[in-house]
């Protein structure tokens, strides 16, 4: 049972702040690190894997300092985001070399096992340079698992994977978590994270924006005010009908036609809108969300 603890951690590069006063504890099980691109996820994973010094605060693994402490890699397996591997080796040679570097008693057997876990046994004797993106990802995974680490850190592991490979990796991560390992992976896709992780840590613009069970995060994200542009056969009648429902916070007529609507409860609004339109004999011509971008979702989380 290993625990990574960040206490008031900040990291800045000259005058750019990448991580701003973040405190979080990552324990056994699968944790998803969720945030838009550039939010500081990779910086956090670098800090947690001993490849970056915090500018302020402390990052520890079971109470031990991570920075400039190679001994921690006995318990940490790291899957970096970058694609580069030792392309001139075969998958098997690469994973075996990793096992040797860990000074495992039987590197060949450990590599064989790790490659089997990621289902790369068939392609293990091909040069890495011939691998697809998904296969590279799996070989990286095997190299991180070869010493059976208690902590597994993965930076955007689902990037570039096809749906089948994605399913397989999700299953693998779930299993690792169920075995009591501390598994942390980063992603910018909520759906991806909530399929695997019970615990979600959200970072936005270097700040720790939310933390908790995936259900709570999901509610936070879907219950935020949503804005839509509607066009209908009678905007004014529709507006007055919508305002009678508690899920609608506001409705404004657009000068060029159409209606801006702000809804506070996405689920309810989606049910109420067609019913109200039908009851008032209004034809809906267009319903379009105006700020569905992930950034706006995260921006809302930060402000709340």
């Amino acid at each position: 049972m290993s625990v990574i603890a960040l206490e008031n951690v900040s990291r800045w590069y000259h005058n750019v702040v990448a991580v701003n006063d973040v405190s979080m504890t990552i324990g056994p099980g699968v944790t998803g690190l969720l945030g838009p691109n550039g939010a500081g996820k990779s910086t956090l994973i670098s800090l947690m894997s001993g490849f970056l010094a915090p500018s302020a605060g402390s990052v520890t693994l079971d109470g031990k300092r991570l920075w400039r402490n190679p001994e921690i890699y006995r318990v940490i397996g790291l899957v970096p985001e970058r694609e580069a591997l030792f392309d001139y080796l075969t998958g098997r040679q690469f994973v075996t070399a990793n096992a040797e570097l860990h000074r495992l008693p039987d590197p060949g057997a450990a590599a064989h096992h790790a490659l089997a876990v990621v289902e790369m046994t068939d392609a293990q004797d091909r040069a890495i340079s011939t691998y697809s993106k998904g296969m590279r990802q799996r070989v990286k995974m095997a190299s991180a698992l070869v010493h059976d680490p208690a902590v597994l850190l993965l930076d955007e592991p689902f990037n570039g994977m096809d749906p089948r490979q994605r399913m397989h990796l999700m299953e693998l991560l779930r299993r690792m978590g169920a075995e009591g390992r501390t598994v942390l992976f980063s992603s910018h896709i909520l759906e991806e994270v909530e399929q695997v992780a019970r615990q979600i840590e959200v970072v936005v613009a270097g700040r720790h924006a939310a933390s908790g069970d995936f259900g709570a995060i999901r509610r936070l994200m879907t219950d935020r005010p949503n804005r839509y542009v509607l066009r209908s056969s009678d905007d004014r009648a529709l507006a007055s009908a919508l305002l009678t429902d508690p899920s609608v916070r506001g409705a404004t007529l657009r000068t060029q036609g159409g209606l801006d609507v702000e809804a506070s409860d996405f689920g309810r609004f989606a049910q109420v809108l067609p019913r109200l339109a039908r009851d008032h004999s209004v034809r809906l011509l267009e319903v379009a969300p105006t700020d569905e971008s992930l950034e706006s979702v995260f921006a809302y989380l930060v402000s709340s």
């Binding site: 490849f51 970056l52 790291l78 030792f86 570097l101």
Partner: protein
């Protein structure tokens, strides 16, 4: 030293296109030795005219630069060094293993060819060839350590290394005698001179003890500096 890192390092150097240069450069030196011998005849003078400028001041540092930079720089550049660093191995072990590979290449592709070229040019006086080779071995070690550190320090290691070799070791060292005190290839000459005292390569004040001590300090210093640099390796790139 770590056998796995050495093995991976050898494959990294010889597996790259740059590795071909390692084969071509010594072949040129040996061919030139044959040509010069055919034209000017065998003798210590012929050897003295060809080996220091071409062997010690050009081939040796170039080979060390190519070997040291291909053993470390590409891995740092593309981030794959992280697979070596994310292991419970001291950074000093990683650096010295990399240095062993760079040095091995320098011996095979520079020191041995200098010995062969020496024997071709001065067949009658084999001690002369040995003297040059010993000097080359010490200087090669110092160069390998210097360029290993340079590769860990900057992605422009090859360019900076070339400028250093051509300007400092080559041009300025030849013109300004004071520079010889801080020039690796001139220490090599001093050591060669000590092995075979018929050689008159450097001003006599730069003696053997100084050359040996300076070389040892350079090797130890740059290995430690390179290890320190890897200790501070940032996964997300340097600021």
């Amino acid at each position: 030293m770590n056998a796995t890192i050495v093995r991976l390092g050898v494959r990294a150097v010889l597996g790259r296109r740059r590795g071909i240069m390692l084969f071509i450069l010594p072949v040129i030196l040996i061919l030139l030795a044959f040509v010069v011998r055919a034209l000017a005849g065998e003798g210590t003078d012929t050897a003295g005219h060809l080996l220091p400028p071409l062997g010690l001041h050009v081939l040796l540092p170039l080979v060390a630069l190519i070997a040291a930079s291909s053993v470390l720089a590409p891995e740092i550049d593309d981030g794959s060094i992280v697979y070596l660093l994310a292991k419970p191995i001291s950074r000093f072990t990683i650096t010295s293993s990399k240095l062993v590979v760079a040095l091995g290449c320098t011996v095979v592709f520079a020191v041995v060819p200098i010995l062969i070229a020496g024997l071709i040019l001065a067949t009658g006086t084999p001690l002369l060839a040995v003297a040059y080779a010993v000097g080359a071995l010490v200087a090669g070690t110092a160069y390998a350590a210097l360029f290993t550190w340079l590769s860990a320090l900057t992605r422009h290691a090859v360019v900076i290394g070339l400028i250093y070799v051509l300007l400092w070791e080559g041009l300025i060292g030849g013109l300004v005698s004071g520079v010889r005190w801080v020039s690796i290839s001139w220490w090599a000459s001093a050591i060669a001179e000590a092995v075979d005292d018929r050689l008159r390569l450097v001003s006599p004040d730069l003696g053997l003890p100084y050359a040996v001590i300076a070389s040892v300090i350079v090797v130890a210093g740059f290995v430690l500096l390179a290890a320190r640099r890897l200790q501070g390796f940032n996964l997300t790139g340097d600021e």
